[in-house]
């Protein structure tokens, strides 16, 4: 049996006080000092914890909000004084796309490496924008195409990057077809470059170590190659250097230790790919295409031109860049995937999709929509307790003190997060009855889209759906 993909994790507690969703505050000065709330009502002992915390508090910006939101103390208070509130610090986390829920669940997964579990059923909106307007399928009793019954340990999350030949020409026992280089990753995920505003120099070594520990690849600016000279044999197979237009070539010795590289799109992409392959014939090269209004057309054009990997990149919120009515990355993946199938080019090219991948379900859904794998960057930063607030960009003090993180803390948290994502991908694949992530790509038969379900279920009852 081949070796199982396994990420070794251990809990990495947060450095900063937790920012919980709920807080209990007194709202009237009339406490009877009965201690009902402290001794009886709170089964989590949060009131005592709070007292301990206040005694050891170091800075005034770090409030204690670890309440579990069960209302027991509120309803048992002798004088009905307590009021449960939403922590204003919690509401300030992230933004409209990177919601406080996303930030908090990412923190939790980076700390524990566990799949988030809760009770009381689903609590959210019926559907939403982007990835929230689709559901994944599950396999039940009748499913002639499913892979059969199997345990999680038999599910492979590995994917390939590179061109896959449509057929092999053979001459007796010899394969005569030209074979392009190809590399495998243990899960459909690649670590992208951190956006410039969040690119703290400390992060490079941490991200590289995370890529090593998880068996993935991290994309890094080509100017960063000296960082990895010392431990080149161990680290460089997990690094893909990104060559911006005009960036110089790096040492051949360094390049030959890598497996994958990425270049900025431009007129001379073919020449630049040729140059990289001349130095390192075994390397797989991706072209990064920003998803502007022209991005989709350009991606298909590059695929027609036999580029082996295309990395399509939307903005941080998964939207088309600079478009008046921006499409979401989900739609862009589907359109590109469909166009490539119609052109007969789909297996000639690997599509990596990035931008707006914030949760593990986005990974699975991105692949279901047609990407071979997805790229992430911000979730790893959030895993380090980043609030995704604009304070660092504005030059203010970072509330997460990213500049103070240690190597072990950073690599541990990022590794934990990726492990939790992997486990959740396996859960979703298990439910779908899919045994191989390669078969997940573009299998929209395993997905259910809001528009399609609405039309099927409600169209004949209620007529046409009104535009929002």
């Amino acid at each position: 049996m081949p070796e199982k993909y396994h990420i070794t994790t251990k809990p990495v507690p947060p450095r900063r006080p937790r920012i919980g969703k709920y807080g209990v505050v007194d709202w009237r000065e009339d406490c009877a000092r009965c201690h009902n709330c402290v001794k009886k009502a709170c089964i989590y002992d949060r009131h005592r914890d709070e007292i301990k915390y206040i005694r050891t508090i170091e800075s005034v910006d770090a409030l204690f909000f670890d309440c579990m939101g069960c209302f027991s103390c509120v309803q048992d208070c002798t004088k009905n004084l307590l009021c449960l509130t939403i922590n204003p610090e919690y509401e300030k986390l992230g933004n409209r796309y990177w919601t406080p829920e996303i930030i908090q669940t990412t923190w939790s997964q980076a700390e524990t490496a566990k799949i988030p579990v809760s009770g009381a059923g689903y609590r959210g909106r019926f559907s939403g924008e982007g990835f929230d307007s689709m559901w994944t399928d599950m396999s039940e009793i009748v499913r002639p195409t499913r892979d059969g019954i199997h345990g999680r340990e038999y599910i492979s999350s590995a994917v390939d990057i590179g061109q896959k030949p449509a057929f092999l020409a053979t001459n007796i026992d010899e394969v005569v077809s030209p074979l392009s280089p190809i590399l495998s990753l243990p899960m459909p995920l690649i670590i992208d470059r951190m956006p410039d505003q969040f690119a703290h120099p400390k992060l490079d070594a941490i991200i590289a170590e995370t890529a090593v520990k998880t068996g993935l690849i991290a994309i890094m600016g080509s100017e960063k190659w000296p960082l990895f000279e010392e431990d080149a044999d161990r680290v460089l197979p997990h690094i893909a250097f990104y060559f911006a237009s005009g960036a110089g070539m790096i040492s051949g010795e360094i390049l030959k230790k890598t497996r994958f590289a990425e270049i900025e799109d431009g007129r001379d992409v073919k020449d630049r790919i040729r140059e990289l392959k001349r130095i390192h014939p075994g390397i797989v090269v991706a072209v990064r295409v920003e998803m502007t209004a022209e991005g989709m057309r350009r991606a298909v054009e590059l695929a027609d031109g036999d580029v082996e990997v295309i990395h399509i990149a939307a903005d941080q919120n998964g939207r088309q860049i600079g478009a008046e009515n921006p499409l979401f990355i989900k739609e862009m993946i589907r359109k590109i995937h469909k166009a490539l199938i119609e052109n007969g080019k789909r297996d000639n090219v690997t599509i990596i999709a990035g931008g707006g991948i914030a949760l593990p379900e986005h990974l699975a859904k991105g692949v279901l929509c047609g990407a071979d794998l997805v790229s992430i960057e911000l979730p790893l930063l959030v895993g380090l307790e980043c609030h995704l607030c604009p304070r660092c960009v504005e030059g203010s003090v970072c509330p997460a003190r990213i500049q103070e993180i240690t190597f072990n803390y950073g690599a541990g948290r990022m590794t934990n997060l990726i492990s939790a994502w992997h486990d959740q991908l396996i859960e979703m694949m298990g439910a779908m009855g899919i045994r191989d992530a390669r078969r997940l790509r573009g299998d929209t038969g395993r997905a259910m889209f809001f528009e399609q379900l609405e039309e099927e279920a409600f169209g004949r009852i209620f007529g046409k759906r009104l535009q929002a």
Partner: protein, 528 residues
Amino acid sequence: MAEFLEKDCRLDEILPEKTLKTRTPQFQQTRAIRPALPRYRNEIAKYIILRDEEKCAACGRCVALCPQGVHVRKPGYKCFALPKSHLCFGPKCEEKGCYCITACPQGALRIQENPMMKVLGDYRWPAAMILATWKMAESGKIPLTDYGYEFETGDSGGGFDRIRFKFPEKPPVELGKDEIDTTLELNRRNDGRPKIRIDVPWYGGGMSFGSVSNTTQLSKARAAVAWNTFTCTGEGGFMERMRPYDDHMITQVATGLFGVREETIQRVRIVEFKYAQGAKPGLGGHLLGDKNTEAVAKMRETVVGISLFSPFPFHSVYSIEDHMKHIDWVKHVNRRALISTKVSTPNDVDMVAVGSYSAGTHIIHLDGGYGGTGAAPDIAKKNIAMPIEYAITKVHNFLVDEGAREKVTLIASGGIRNPYDIAKAIALGADGCVVGTSELVALGCVRCARCSTGRGCPRGIATTDNLLAPKIDLEWGAQRIINMYNAWRNELVTILQRLGLRSVSELKGRSDLLMHLDYTNDVAGNPS
């Protein structure tokens, strides 16, 4: 062996084939409505009344004015008790001329909207819906409109929350409430097995001992007895204490087969195969180690403290033919039982339903992706399988097309929160519903979602902790659910009356009586 069966399985108590009743004396419970007051000192309210003690002259005008009894001064006391804010109608009283805030000669009273209304609940169960369910559980009645609890829909922005009934100004047929039939026949196969008719078109969902307390299970069972309906064991086995409820219990046979024995199959009138559940479709079940106490472990024949997994799917079922073998097995073991097949809502749910019908099931139970009461991975709750609203129409239409619709009972669950959801589900094509979360809310659940954390539910509902579970008194718990069922039935009767329908079965598939706020609603034959 025979001796063992006689002694341990109490074969003498298992009913003979041709009788409908178990030989175990059955618990009797009336459906009489009795007040079941909130069990916490401070009920959460929409409005908060604040009294300035320094300004208050204790004239008692507020006490005399308030018809709701918000202001209380106990005999012999000079000062007032804390205002009972949860009884307050708020500014609505101004229209009625009994607004204490403006009537107080000293201006000592203030009213404000309770900030906790923004904290309690969620999109699917907004605070108003939770508070209204508490009122129903307390009084057995739908809360007065003056409270302003818009409990009919949630804020999820889709599905039932955007569907409304098209009530005519005047019903096409004038009917008295006592002329309206809410019963539901569960066996439509004419296969010689008993006809079972329940008095309300819903029954209680499966919650195992382990996931919820013994008291919670028994409260549900007593309500099922009172309303001549059913509740389900869940996968945690059939407790001895449940024997007096045999006639109203459903034995669940799930993939882990915890507590499933021939004896527990033989003593009930319905046996349910659970293939999947809405909270975690395709993932199986998971009881966290902390909840696996000595009692739970004994019931499930496992080791204390270890996490218990029910695998997905049944490892003996690869096809409908295998499913049929399952059904045949249970039908052979219990010759009078009806079979229910509980499935989740995949893309091919219609095929699953027809297949299950052809395999011989009496009840197809669809559990939508947004349902569930117990612990589940967040990723599954939100993303896997379709919401029940879609599945009902898909399955109903397919069964109609296949000519099988009148031969099988279609039950929907997974996000059914109130009588309006039940009526909408039936109008979309279901025969009835299974409810779960609402029963827990009736017992005081605030949907804090901590069922899976440590000792379990801090409210004493979904826990087996020795200190937490006794927070609920059995009599109180049963009465709360009985009361809620009463309020629901009354409201369902009102809905049918307004539509001029004589029975729940007349509502089935009447999607022409519905409209969707996001659609043109101009389909021929379905005029808006």
